[in-house]
Subunit: 383 residues, 2 copies
């Protein structure tokens, strides 16, 4: 089903992935992903801007966290305000005010997690909107068309996500469909300024993951994601999936672990060769008064912070750490919007500091040491 | 009851009010209020930071609206987190991150509007917290002590606010008590770096307002407020109260109209000689999707904005006006926090632009023209 497109040469000029360093003791890589809207230093963490906004922050604040690339959710934007509306308003960059690279997912995960009464056939999916129950259709071709309307820099192919654990036959069927849909997505692309990443499925089965990775690699996508994780499986299972998939993905393309995860998951994935991440955890946990720090998580509503004049973290440049723990606690106790805003900014800054530290460590040949230092700090639990 | 305090000379050096221009056709004044934490150009609008935060904005964003001075609410802060906690955390400036001048009210208005089962005697007030029903006491002396703990630059005397309209005897009794309490507050002051403003009460009776203003003027406060308004009375009644009170207040002290109001109220008050304002309207309306503009209010949820690529106002420098109306509508329809944040920033910027324009107009001898232009724009209703 794969077709050569006339703009494939132009595309290869617009997007590239260059490896700058490889860790000697692990599979960790340090690279640069070049897009028409700028470079992204990898490993990179992309804040999630589901509905055209990273919840609670202005785009200036998102930029100040250190982020270079953000994610938008096709499912949400297609339902509200609608891809045509975003297109009329100048595309997702102009709409949201983020002028750096944007990756959009395809809606595959939301068909599984959020949509109601989803029916999937070889042609595509039919589902009801979780907002108002109205009926939508999403095929591989439509998923690409919507993402082209949104105008993201990286589009994801439509994948078939299933619950885990699940019967082997169901997992295999969805995985094979995902490969077929990836080829249809690739054939449907019309915009040279948008790159497409394929998505490796295959549940918790490392062999199936390896097979899927190899199949997709033959289609020569400019990037590859590992999807269908972060659905409640054990961390060890996720790491095994990465062990299965990563070696079968091309060295010269970025690898993106979708929707993951905790700081410890991110370092475990980087050591297995993953380059890109996104997760709602920094913002969602921030809104719920939980802060990430190098000494483990801090629950901001705890009474012990009431008269604590120290910042969350001494060396953190974020706006939350310009204030006292006592003030941050007060904001949450008083139900003030600024609490979620400041803690989201802190957590996103924390994730950026984490991947920046990983990049430096890989470049300096000490990723394993960095990983152990971070793990040790998190386990100390004395934040 | 008034006593000379040893630091009265020091205080006069720390605070001053200088008139730069007076309008020829109205009572409008252009001045500078000097405080230990910087100058405030008047007429000025103070954003309301009730609980140590201007709702939805970082202090950097508040500063970017053009605000030079903000307000904090003694009642709210005394109840939560407590004045002692704020003091332990370095005072309200360090606590909140606002390093410019801060004015705190006394709690008098909240005793009337928010507290439960308030009993007022000559000694002071006893009431139940609206948060948890616990019992608090607030006397003139305690109101000053709390504000000194908070460390604001300007403290308000405790006043006795009553519902309007009301029986003459009740209004008069509360007004006379307010004068006696003002003297007690002045005698209770212990900090030369904090100025005290008196509050004119007297309901809707211009003669009683005039009497109260004259009584307080004799006590020689560094500033005077007109209180007990914005409680549902007609705008014309409020303007009449200003006509009664302002001529009896000293020329060489700032005049502050508490809790007012709509843009049109602010210009009407400026033309009657008022210098300072505060109001929750820009932030509260912003949170509720209503934007102020020179062409009247804009209801941001309205369907007509859905694909409107224009900003709210072409010349506005605020972050909301860097985006399209369509995007702002989307944020509110999608329930995103950024909608309230951006519209609060816009409305506060609008109020700052309004008073900046008034200052320029007074300085250039064309306040009346400015007032008519604004009124004409608002009434056009074609925003």
């Amino acid at each position: 089903m794969e077709r050569r497109r006339p703009f494939s040469f132009a595309k290869s000029l617009m997007f590239s992935f260059r490896l700058l360093a490889a860790d000697a003791h692990t599979a960790a890589r340090r690279g640069v992903f070049t897009t028409p809207r700028g470079d992204v230093q990898t490993p990179a963490f992309m804040p999630v801007g589901t509905q055209g906004t990273v919840k609670g922050l202005t785009m200036d604040m998102v930029r100040a966290t250190g982020a270079e690339m953000i994610l938008g959710n096709t499912y949400h934007l297609a339902l509200r305000p609608g891809a045509e509306v975003v297109q009329k308003l100048g595309g997702l960059h102009r709409f949201s005010g983020w002028d750096g690279p944007i990756l959009t997912d395809s809606g595959g995960f939301q068909l599984f997690s959020l949509a109601q009464m989803t029916r999937i056939s070889e042609e595509g999916a039919v589902f009801r909107s979780h907002i108002d129950g109205s009926i939508f259709e999403l095929s591989p071709e439509r998923a690409i068309e919507i993402q082209e309307q949104l105008g993201s820099d990286v589009a994801m192919v439509l994948d078939h996500v299933v619950a885990l654990p699940n019967e082997d036959a169901i997992v295999r069927d969805a995985c094979e469909r995902t490969v077929r849909w990836a080829a249809r997505c690739r054939a449907a692309a019309r915009r040279p300024e948008q790159a497409q990443f394929a998505i490796v499925q295959g549940g918790l089965n490392p062999e199936l993951r390896a097979w899927c990775a190899a199949q997709l690699a033959e289609l020569q996508f400019p990037g590859y994601a590992i999807g269908g994780l972060s659905v409640g499986e054990l961390p060890e299972d996720m790491y095994r999936v990465l062990d299965g998939a990563c070696p079968h993905l091309p060295q010269n393309a970025p690898r993106y672990l979708m929707g993951v995860g905790r700081p410890e998951d991110i370092l475990e994935a980087i050591r297995r060769g993953v380059d890109l991440f996104d997760c709602v955890m920094p913002t969602r946990n921030g809104r719920n008064a939980l802060a990430f720090t190098d000494r483990g998580p801090v629950r901001m509503r705890n009474l012990k912070h009431a008269t604590d004049d120290r910042p969350l973290e001494e060396q953190c440049p974020c706006p939350a750490c310009g204030r006292s723990r006592g003030y941050l606690r007060h904001l949450f106790m008083a139900g003030e919007m600024l609490g979620p805003t400041l803690l989201s900014a802190h957590n996103l800054t924390y994730y950026q500091r984490l991947v920046t530290g990983a990049r430096d460590a890989i470049a300096n040949g000490r990723f394993d040491e960095y990983h152990r230092e971070k793990q040790h700090g998190w386990e100390s639990g004395d934040a």
